[in-house]
């Protein structure tokens, strides 16, 4: 697999995503500068966490106008796999590539903690190796992670399996306490209708080694690898 990690000014988890793909998974990875308009051929584009443009105005609002985002949109439209983590998720919602919006945590504070998320849809390229309702231990670190989608759209998302991850306790119950930011319906991650663009607030790239507290995040990356190995490989940029 060859992954492209997009670097916006202010990205700061680019290094962690890169490290995971290269050193833990042993796959190829490149950094892609935000000013790039034709980034080349990749199997996966990762929009990493951080504070693109300082998260000034709104998280992800300015980054989504980066030149590279047009390429990301056409890559996604052609079925390419796009993974947005934290700030990357915010950028994808701002860009309209994912439904809903992310705004200020309900308690108004930045929150860095371990969370548990339940896999709600394991039929996606991103979750194929996960058991149904498997609970993953993956940390969050964000100030604007409260997911919102208008009530009348939520049911549609659920029906189509677009709600991919939900915050739960370690036993898999979506309690209020397990929700670190007040997201509607404990939603931690969603995908687009086609299932090839995924965004989530927790950081799977920080859960890639037991010595960091968890390696559950690998399920997502290994699913991607598995899917690419088994299914068609898109190599458009």
């Amino acid at each position: 697999m060859k992954a492209g990690v997009i670097v916006f000014p202010g990205s700061n988890c680019d290094l962690d995503a890169y490290h995971l793909v290269r050193d833990i998974l042993g796959q190829e990875a490149d950094y892609i500068w935000h000013g790039e308009t034709s980034p080349g051929e990749y199997d996966l584009l990762i929009l990493p966490g951080g504070f693109s443009y300082g998260d000034y105005l709104r998280s992800g609002a300015i980054a989504r106008f980066s030149p590279v985002m047009e390429a990301v949109a056409s890559f996604a439209a052609a079925g390419g796999m796009v993974l947005g983590i934290c700030n990357g998720f915010q950028i994808l919602t701002e860009a309209g590539l994912l439904p809903g919006a992310l705004y200020r945590n309900r308690h108004l504070q930045f929150r860095c903690r371990q969370t548990y998320i339940r896999v709600e849809n394991n039929r996606l390229p991103f979750t194929g190796l996960a058991r149904k309702e498997q609970v993953l231990k993956i940390p969050v670190a964000h100030g604007d992670g409260c997911y919102y989608v208008p009530e009348d759209e939520l049911a549609g998302l659920e029906e189509r399996g677009q709600v991919v991850f939900r915050y739960t306790d370690s036993g898999g119950s979506p309690t209020k306490k397990a929700n670190p930011n007040g997201s509607v319906s404990n939603i931690a991650g969603v995908c687009n209708e086609q299932g090839n663009v995924l965004g989530l607030m927790p950081h799977p790239e920080r859960a890639g080694e037991d010595l960091l507290g968890s390696s559950d995040g690998l399920v997502i990356f290994k699913s991607i690898l598995d899917y690419l190995g088994a299914g068609e490989v898109s190599r458009r940029g």
């Binding site: 300082g54 105005l57 300015i62 106008f65």
Partner: protein
């Protein structure tokens, strides 16, 4: 025993509801990193003529007061004590009567 009405009006004024619209901006000489970032973004998005972008807070609230003077005094107090930080921010406001 005074009635509610009498009570409210005994100073000759009726308690009214006011809507305050408060704008808070960083003082002119203070760096406004958000404003700068937004201005740059707008320019590259195809609005090269845009200048002087400043990003601040907008707060709306409803309060009761006997007359405009009292409402104004309260809004100023709230703005100075809590809503803005006079060290780095200025505020201005508008008051609209919204009924009893």
């Amino acid at each position: 025993m005074p009635t509610g009405r009498f009570c409210a009006g005994w100073k000759g004024e009726t308690v009214l509801k006011w809507k305050a619209k408060i704008e808070i901006l960083l003082k002119q000489q203070v760096l406004d990193p958000q404003g700068g970032a937004v201005e740059k973004a707008l320019k590259t998005m195809g609005y090269p003529s845009v200048t002087g972008v400043r990003v601040g807070k907008y707060i709306e609230l409803v309060l009761s007061a006997e007359g405009r003077g009292q409402a104004a005094a309260r809004v100023e107090e709230m703005s100075e004590k809590l809503l803005s930080n006079p060290v780095i921010e200025d505020y201005r406001y508008e008051l609209v009567e919204v009924g009893e």
